[in-house]
């Protein structure tokens, strides 16, 4: 039994006085793919934000150990440098900042965190090119501003591109499949599968079983009212598709 890459114990979190996470437990081992499904508003994005360290969410109880460290004490950028990546449900636009500069800042900040020198311009550009090909965005990113004027699908693909650039230990994909056409869905899934190694783990938040046809999860969890109420294998997703959530409440 290997040590989990992330171990979440009895996590309670609230925002502006609303209790949203209410005793959430989950361990993910290196190399595993976990899927979380559940009705709107049950706290899936909140969980992702809390793991990533968004300020407005207050953790009132519980712990999150990532790679042996209590990451609740770290700033969001430190958590990212430790290997947490969040593909946002709604990626934001940053006008005037090119994808190249943005990624360069990200890559080199993380390298600096680990005491490494910045990537040489040549190597950086090579990496950019390679990873853009992975999500079939070749030539469409470099000189455009981050997400500005991107279509919904392009934004999601850009998230996967950024994930590929940063090579995280744990990638949380928050509804990355929503709003994608069938081809884009395959591109995203393909990107994930190529990055999936024995070390890299994924937490995939989705409403649709169809994504899980392409990214095969080891476990499927159902989240309801701030915690996991049922865990199964990939067949659970099929069952949910058929029966909905009511039988679990």
């Amino acid at each position: 039994m290997s040590t989990p890459i992330i171990s979440i114990k009895n996590l309670h979190a609230e925002v502006e006085g609303h209790k949203i996470l209410k005793g959430f437990n989950l361990d993910i081992n290196p190399g595993e793919i976990h899927a979380i499904m559940g009705p709107n508003g049950t706290g899936k994005s909140t969980l992702a934000s809390v793991i990533a360290g968004k300020d407005e969410y207050e953790v009132t109880e519980g712990e999150v150990i990532f790679n042996g460290k209590n990451i609740l004490e770290l700033d969001p950028d430190e958590r990212a440098a430790e290997g947490v990546f969040l593909a946002f449900q709604y990626p934001v636009e940053i006008p005037g900042v090119s994808n190249t500069n943005f990624m360069k800042a990200a890559v080199n900040n993380i390298r600096e965190y680990h005491g490494e020198d910045p990537l040489k311009a040549k190597d950086f550009l090579k990496l950019m090119k390679e990873k853009q090909e992975l999500v079939e965005l070749k030539g469409r990113l470099a000189n455009r501003s981050v997400n500005e004027g991107f279509s919904g699908g392009e934004k999601k693909r850009n998230e996967i591109f950024q994930m590929a650039m940063l090579d995280p230990k744990l990638a949380i994909l928050d509804e990355t499949d929503s709003g994608l056409d069938i081809d884009a869905l395959k591109i995203v899934a393909n990107g994930v599968n190529q990055l999936h190694t024995k070390e890299n783990s994924f937490l995939v938040i989705t409403h649709y079983q169809r994504l899980l046809d392409h990214i095969i999860p080891d476990f499927v969890h159902v989240m309801y009212d701030g915690k996991i109420v049922k865990t199964g294998d990939k067949n659970l997703a099929l069952e949910l598709e058929e029966k909905g959530y009511d039988w679990l409440k």
């Binding site: 300020d55 950028d77 440098a81 940053i94 005037g96 900042v97 190249t100 943005f102 940063l166």
Partner: protein, 482 residues
């Protein structure tokens, strides 16, 4: 693959200033106060010709009849004009032996700006070979320029060497009686720069001058005159990167630019005078008059400014578009943090047919600062088929600061088009979090976002200036969010 922001930043680190200063070492200072005798004294100390003394006296007499303007959206204690010394030759503030004696906070700032140790010493009067100097700016490139017939020297030198040129153009764009502070400047200006580009000459290098404020209590009245003769081109940089730690200081400069037929002038400024401390104490009053006359067919002028310093700024670089097909541009980033107040913008006066102007203004306010855009677009009756596009954006950091837009538009013919767009946005917690989630620190994230917002303007700056400007933006806003 273009040269990116980060490349620029890299390059700036360890970059040494390319232009040195030379000064004539004269160390006296006139007693505080202003009257005709003082003006006569200034003029005689500078061995000025009679016509210049007359120019000064006329301006002074007019100034006495004027009132300090109060329409700008700024509040400050009116300067006591009798408490200012109107002439002071340079002297190093204190004899410091090494940088160890300099305010550590200031040193930290230098480091962040990437100012070399030599330059740091220079700025603190430590090096003896070169001295910071409010009286004259000379450049090492003078000879090279002269070969092309380009004149670039201190104003006082020009008065001696090219009196006819100076007399012809002084006050031709900004008349002595133009406004309260321009009149004051005309009466008492100490020094500044003069630049003349002959017919058909493209100035091969960027002309650069650094203005610095030396002595506490010394008003600064710089005078710059640029004449671009027919078909010529020059890019001119005015900058000051290091903040001066002085008492409230009045700075009332005048910049006049005459652009002849088919000539083009690009004038870029990075302004970073001491803005006062976090409580709003101290800081420079920056009341500047800048105007360009696009006199002939296809004359073009482009103002670019990055304003991060000063406690109070009052500044409207303007273009008089007299020639047919003449063009005026104004690109501005104005940052106010803490208690800073800025009322800045541009005036585009369309007189010529088919004249064209663009105003891009990006205000960034933080702390409890007030940041106003004030702009006038005036299209006269005969300026048919003229066009203006203005865009004024405001970015707010925090919720205690103010952003205001005062556009004035007057169009007196039917064939012209004037467009005005304005936006106000708040720097998003979501944007910052997004950057942080990618491993970028909060501070760096703010700098990225702000620089992105100002990109359109920064792109107008010459390369090395752009890098300085980016750093300044980041430093000015440090600690403004969160």
């Amino acid at each position: 693959m273009g040269y990116t922001e980060s490349d620029l930043e890299k390059d700036l680190e360890g970059k040494e200033y390319e232009y040195g200063f030379v000064s004539d070492f004269d160390t006296d200072r006139i007693e505080n106060g202003l009257n005709e005798d003082v003006i006569r004294l200034i003029s005689s100390k500078r061995e000025e010709p009679e016509w210049l003394l007359e120019f000064r006296l006329k301006a002074y007499r007019h100034w006495l009849t004027m009132y300090e303007p109060d329409w700008a959206h700024v509040k400050y204690d009116k300067p006591d004009f009798q408490a200012i010394s109107y002439y002071s030759a340079p002297k190093p503030k204190k004899e410091l032996k090494s940088l160890d004696e300099v305010d550590p906070e200031l040193l930290e700032m230098y480091k962040k700006l990437g100012i070399s140790v030599d330059e740091q010493k220079r700025m603190n009067g430590i090096a003896i070979d070169v001295v910071v100097d409010s009286v004259s700016v000379a450049t090492t490139f003078k000879k090279t320029l002269l070969e092309k017939g380009i004149i670039f020297m201190s104003f006082s030198e020009a008065v001696k060497e090219y009196p006819d040129l100076v007399q012809e153009y002084l006050g031709s764009v900004v008349p002595a009686a133009d406004n309260y502070y321009a009149a004051l400047n005309s009466a008492v200006f100490t020094d500044g720069s003069f630049c003349y580009i002959p017919k058909g000459v493209r100035c091969p290098m960027e002309l650069s001058t650094y203005f610095r404020i030396n002595e506490a209590g010394t008003g600064q009245f710089e005078r710059t005159l640029i004449v671009a003769d027919e078909g010529s081109y020059v890019s001119y940089l005015e900058g000051c990167t290091a903040p001066a730690r002085d008492e409230n200081q009045l700075h009332a400069a005048v910049v006049e630019i005459m652009v002849k037929k088919e000539a083009e002038v690009k004038y870029s400024t990075v302004q970073n005078w001491f803005p006062g401390d976090a409580e709003g104490k101290g800081g420079v009053y920056n009341f500047v008059t800048k105007r360009a006359m696009c006199e002939g067919y296809k004359s073009k002028v482009s103002w670019t400014q990055v304003e991060t310093g000063s406690a109070v700024t009052w500044k409207y670089p303007s273009c008089v578009l007299k020639g047919d097909y003449s063009e005026g541009e104004f690109y501005s980033v104005a940052v106010t943090a803490n208690h800073q107040m800025a009322d800045t913008g541009s005036k585009m006066i369309h007189l010529g047919k088919n004249s064209k102007s663009v105003i891009i203004s990006k205000g960034i306010s933080a702390g409890v600062s007030e940041n106003s855009y004030r702009g006038l677009v005036q299209v006269h009756k005969n300026a048919i088929n003229s066009r203006n596009f203005s865009q004024c954006d405001s970015l707010l950091l925090g919720d205690k600061c103010g952003a205001h837009t005062f556009p004035y538009i007057e169009v007196k013919n039917k064939s012209s088009q004037v467009e005005h767009e304005a936006t106000t946005s708040k720097i998003g917690e979501d944007q910052i979090f997004y950057c942080q989630q990618r491993g970028i620190s909060e501070e760096k994230a703010i700098s990225l976002i702000v620089n992105g917002y100002a990109r359109e303007v920064l792109n107008q700056l010459p390369m090395e200036f752009a890098a300085e400007a980016q750093k300044l933006l980041a430093i000015t806003l440090e600690g403004s969010v969160g």
